[in-house]
Amino acid sequence: MKINKEIRRLSREMLRASFTDGQLDPGRIASLVDSLIARKPRHSVEILQNYRRLLRLELEKRRARIETASEVDPETRSKLIADLKQKYGNDLTTEFVVNPQLLGGMRIRVGSDVWDGTVCNRLERLQQQL
């Protein structure tokens, strides 16, 4: 998608206005989108698309995806969530995924940070080293 400076500036301003006390506010987001649609400025569709993209990236920074080879017991699950929230803040959302291809261990991704302790990853590293 080709975007010009104006689109980028407006969508960034909208993103800045979407926070309340440092956290994304769904109510403000909805009202911002509604007011933009009502005013219909030039390139409004492109501005909304770029705003959506910025929001998606912002949400990804606040979402933890935890992949394991088998189901995690509830106790470990709650401990993990508490630890992650302590590190990344209370607005962090978590998602647990079972992926048997990992063979064992756990892979946690928050934004672009990844902690990989899976057997699959260890085997790959071993292969590279040998």
Partner: protein, 510 residues
């Protein structure tokens, strides 16, 4: 055997205990050798990015929400949605003497089928050039073996001398002749024939050239026995723009290893016009703003930071050097185009080759008026200075008078003598390709010219006279040549020996 098992066991232990933290991103867009990636919040500029299938990229554009990465290697295997990760490493190439005699690609992988390159040393492609404290002035010559250059446009070790001219004017030939000359000197140095000689290793970087041209150059260097002292880095026209853009930097890194280890290296960038074109392509695909002739704004910095890495370092830092011979191809002799003016202003002089001279049979077709060496004369050996001090002036005056004399028939004796001398100097400076002349023979021939021994020879036989004289000196007066080589200057004794040798030769010359 048990040692290997233990080593594997420790590696397994190391992997067992660690959880790898990495910074990842997702490919959102790919094409034309460039990928746009979301994520990678910790990426550094010029950091290597690892893609699936063992492909690597280089982060060049760090934007607010995206990273622009140029891909190295197979670009078709990268797909949208692929997860990539940072490596924390800068792009580096193997360096060291193991690369001599080899043909490699931009990232130092062998292309010659001679097996793996065995070296433990690696240098980053991008490195800051040595600063003012580390440097010293140029004082040692690079003997190109081309008489016109060694006499009039001398090149010193650590200098950057541009070779510029239209297509097919002999730019690459000058570079290859220089490599061959170095190989011959290096061989003589190894045999102990040259006093205090420091070998000069050569790196030939072919950017955007036809593969057939690179193969021909390789064949010539192999035939002349120059490959044991030479590395060829090939990023041909069929290679990606990324590889073409990075190849000169790989050459500079390989040359710097020699400099850092107290040795001398010569790098030929053939050619920087195509390098600028490759960089323009990369920049445009990365959506960087374009400027004059659609080149990006930092194309000057691209070449200045590359050529600034050529230096002669002080004795306390090893005393090594990197000499650069960048080549620029002009269009219809236009030196005022963007890239030629940039590189002319960066380098310490230029050898300008003219199409007209080339077709008149003056080869190498060096234009004496437009060629200059800003620092090289400090590096000339004294003997050459003694015999060639006025040659450039004589030739310049000859060209002026030759143009003037076309309109008049009656010339005074002094003008005629000057014209005759000029014609003979032009003949002397004609030289066959791949045939560098040793410096002592250059001195002897130019001494003969300076002292009027060539004046009676008809112009069309001057070349024949020169070749016979060189043969005579090589076969009959070897000790005289050796004395010139060792003393590096002409004293009264040597001059009298030269005089008697010339008299003897003249008596036999028909």
């Amino acid at each position: 055997m048990s040692g290997i098992l233990e080593e594997i066991e420790t590696k397994i232990q190391g992997i067992k205990t660690s959880t790898a933290k990495s910074n990842v991103g997702v490919v959102r867009e790919t094409g034309d050798g460039v990928a746009r990636i979301e994520g990678l919040s910790d990426v550094m500029l010029n950091e290597m990015i690892e893609f699936p299938n063992g492909i690597f990229g280089l982060a060049l554009n760090l934007e607010e929400t995206e990273v622009g990465v140029i891909l190295l290697g197979e670009t078709t295997k990268v797909a949208e949605g692929d997860e990539v990760k940072t490596t924390g490493k800068l792009l580096q190439v193997p360096v060291g003497k193991a690369l001599l005699g080899r043909v490699v690609n931009t990232i130092g992988e062998p292309l010659d089928g001679k097996g793996k390159i065995k070296t433990d040393s690696f240098y980053p492609l991008e490195k800051i050039a040595p600063g003012v404290i580390k440097r010293r002035s140029v004082s040692q010559p690079v003997q190109t073996g081309i008489m016109a250059i060694d006499a009039m446009i001398p090149i010193g070790r650590g200098q950057r001398e541009l070779i510029i001219g239209d297509r097919a004017t002999g730019k690459t030939t000058i570079a290859i002749d220089t490599i061959i000359s170095q190989a011959r000197l290096n061989k003589a140095g190894e045999k102990g024939e040259l006093k205090d000689y420091r070998p000069l290793y050569c790196i030939y970087v072919a950017v955007g050239q036809k593969n057939s041209n690179v193969a021909r150059t390789l064949a010539v260097l192999e035939k002349e026995g120059a490959m044991p002292y030479t590395t060829i880095i090939s990023a041909p026209a069929s290679d990606t723009a990324t590889n073409q853009y990075l190849a000169p930097f790989a050459g500079a890194a390989m040359g710097e290893w020699f400099m850092d280890n107290g040795m001398d290296a010569l790098i030929i960038y053939d050619d920087l016009s195509k390098h600028a074109v490759a960089y323009r392509q990369v920049s445009l695909v990365l959506r960087r703003p374009s400027g004059r002739e659609a080149y990006p704004g930092d194309v000057f910095y691209l070449h200045s930071r590359l050529l600034e890495r050529s230096a002669r370092v002080a004795e306390e830092f090893g005393g090594g050097s990197v000499t650069a011979l960048p080549i620029i191809e002009t269009q219809a002799g236009d030196v005022s185009a963007y890239i030629p003016t940039n590189v002319i202003s960066i380098t310490d002089g230029q050898i300008y080759l003219e199409t007209d001279l080339f077709y008149q049979g003056v080869r190498p077709a060096i234009s004496v008026g437009l060629s200059v060496s800003r620092v090289g004369s400090a590096a000339q050996i004294k003997a050459i200075k003694q015999v060639a001090g006025k040659v450039k002036l004589d030739l310049a005056q000859f060209r002026e008078l030759a143009a003037f004399a076309q309109f008049g028939s009656d010339l005074d004796a002094a003008t005629k003598a000057r014209l005759d001398r000029g014609q003979r100097i032009v003949e002397l400076f004609k030289q066959k390709q791949y045939n560098p002349i040793p410096v002592e023979e250059q001195v002897a021939v130019m001494w003969a010219m300076q002292n009027g021994y060539i004046d009676p020879v008809p112009v069309d036989r001057v070349k024949e006279f020169q070749i016979k004289l060189q043969d005579y000196l090589e076969t009959r007066k070897e000790s005289l040549l050796a004395s010139i080589r060792d003393k590096k200057q002409l004293d009264e004794e040597l001059e009298s020996q030269l005089k008697s040798a010339l008299e003897e030769f003249k008596a036999t010359w028909r």
